[in-house]
């Protein structure tokens, strides 16, 4: 029988940076516990931080049906989640951080069908963008329908752009920072509702370790002209040593700003701004994931099934506090 004090049993599927962040986040929330970690690797080679937690083969995940309250899918969006999302929504209530914005509608449909068919509840595309930034875009547009919104990212490391640089011949290692342009942010905050181009909003800065004897000018040209990733931006390229990269660029900070500017009545202007400044992108994303796991657990308990996004989750469901406590302390 269910007891109120029983902890929410979280499973982690895939054990990379986000998963380690989830493990840290569970330790900060006393109503949850880590039940098991599932990996495609040899479980013997995976060391988790939490004492006594079993590391299991992904093939054995079926044996845990009913023993995990919510499974947090920690795979990547490019190839892992499109397959994992619908597959594991058939076996567990799930939460994931699918972040390929353009493919969200089809991913939602696939997970929704799988979850409904099997009576599970899945919250997709959780994190800060998509996630908290999405919420603030929605809130901003709802409260100030006559207005404009602006999303700025950074200063922070873009994994996708770093990977793109690393694929260039002659590049041994690289990291890319996305940097919001201060004057563009000021324009967005002014309430004037300016139109801002891609180039006006962000610059990109790359720190590149080249292979010995590589053509540096050619690498720089290849970066700056790369379509989609760099050609629409002003990009700066620095060549540094492997040691400098390790010493100065090993943290993964990120963050950004969502600014909504709008007008009411006879020309009264309002600006809503939401910002994040994160030392660790993965750990913060993971902290958001566990809150949505709590919400998934609660919604599933009431019999809801299918896919959900952050837009469908009442804020109170995210907190470990009761509705009474929330009203008394935070309202």
């Amino acid at each position: 029988m269910w007891k109120a004090m029983e902890k929410i049993k979280i499973g982690i599927l895939g054990y990379g940076n986000i998963a380690r962040g989830v493990e840290c986040a569970i330790a900060q929330n006393e109503d949850m516990e880590l039940a098991a970690v599932f990996t495609r690797r040899d479980p013997e080679t995976v060391k988790v931080m939490t004492a006594g937690v079993p590391v299991c083969r992904l093939e054995d995940v079926g044996q845990m049906e009913g023993k995990i309250d919510v499974m947090i899918l920690c795979g990547g969006s490019a190839t892992d989640l499109p397959e994992m999302g619908p597959k594991y929504a058939k076996m567990f209530h799930t939460v994931d951080s699918f972040d390929t914005h353009a493919k969200i509608p089809e991913y939602f449909a696939a997970v929704d069908a799988a979850a409904k068919e099997s009576g599970h509840l899945s919250v997709i595309s959780v994190g800060w963008d998509p996630g908290l930034f999405s919420l603030n875009r929605l809130y901003g547009e709802a409260f100030l329908p006559k207005g404009s919104h602006y999303t700025f990212w950074g200063k922070g490391v873009s994994q996708g752009h770093s990977d793109a640089v690393r694929r260039i011949p002659g590049v041994k290692n690289a990291i890319q920072y996305t940097i919001p342009v201060e004057s563009a942010m000021e324009a967005a905050r002014s309430g004037e509702q300016p139109e801002l181009t891609t180039r006006q909003k962000h610059t990109r800065e790359c720190f590149v370790v080249a292979e010995e004897g590589a053509d540096l000018a050619e690498i720089e040209r290849a970066i700056k002209t790369m379509p989609n990733y760099f050609s629409d931006y002003d990009t700066t390229v620095h060549f540094i040593s492997e040691e400098e990269l390790r010493r100065d660029h090993s943290k993964m900070p990120h963050g950004g700003f969502v600014i909504r500017s709008g007008e009411t009545g006879q020309g009264n202007r309002h600006v809503i701004e939401y910002s994040l400044k994160l030392d660790s992108n993965a750990e913060f994303t993971a902290s958001v994931l566990v809150c949505y796991a709590r919400a998934a657990y609660r919604l599933a308990k009431t019999g809801e099934t299918g896919a959900r996004t952050v837009f469908d989750i009442a804020p109170g469901l995210l907190s470990g506090k009761s509705a009474e406590e929330l009203r008394a302390q935070f309202l």
Copy 2:
């Protein structure tokens, strides 16, 4: 029979600043229309902006049961809403901006009982504080449980403090600005999680029109030593003319900041900041109220009853867009 394109019929009860803001906000949302305004005054003396909208006596409100989808209660929190909230929750789905933080639990209980008994749904304490700031306090604590939160108000006009100054003998008119202290905001944003006293966080600035022959030094002393309102703050008092007050202080700007600072993993620091810069406090509050009226309408359609707060409302319910549009455009 209900048709999808039919507009949500909003009623306004009480016709002051917030009500006029609600009227403006309805005009910006094409899925709603203003059905009627109810007033305690002689309806002949109340001019509304929207053509063709009836202004009715409050005594006749009972005749409109069933003709109003959601009634927005635009009374004050001190004396109007404690009585109005439960009374009109028996007749309509309601939304209000009850903002006496300490009395929210008892107000919630009274409205909840009335709404449940009569099969209505009421969203209480909507606006920006309580309201959007409350949401951000909740979100911040959920995502960064090991952390501290800070609310700063201003720069803006506090109605309550302005009224308190106006009650001092010898004061003809006055306005009070609450001003956040920049260095305290910087400390909150630093991630150091400092403890900040009331005096460190805000200063207060009063612009006072004195009656002829009044003892200015005595007025200044009375303001600065007033318990609860001013004695815990550093306060500046300026004496100005009625004309200067009208010329320089007729707008009602406001705003503020909610900052959550917290830690994950091995000392990684994160800062979440939400801020509002509002030209018109009343119009922005009203814009938020109409979105929650939309949510109340939708929840009531599904048969939900009782009192709710912003914590109970899924973000997607606030927007005029469909769930599919929201996922495609904002996620």
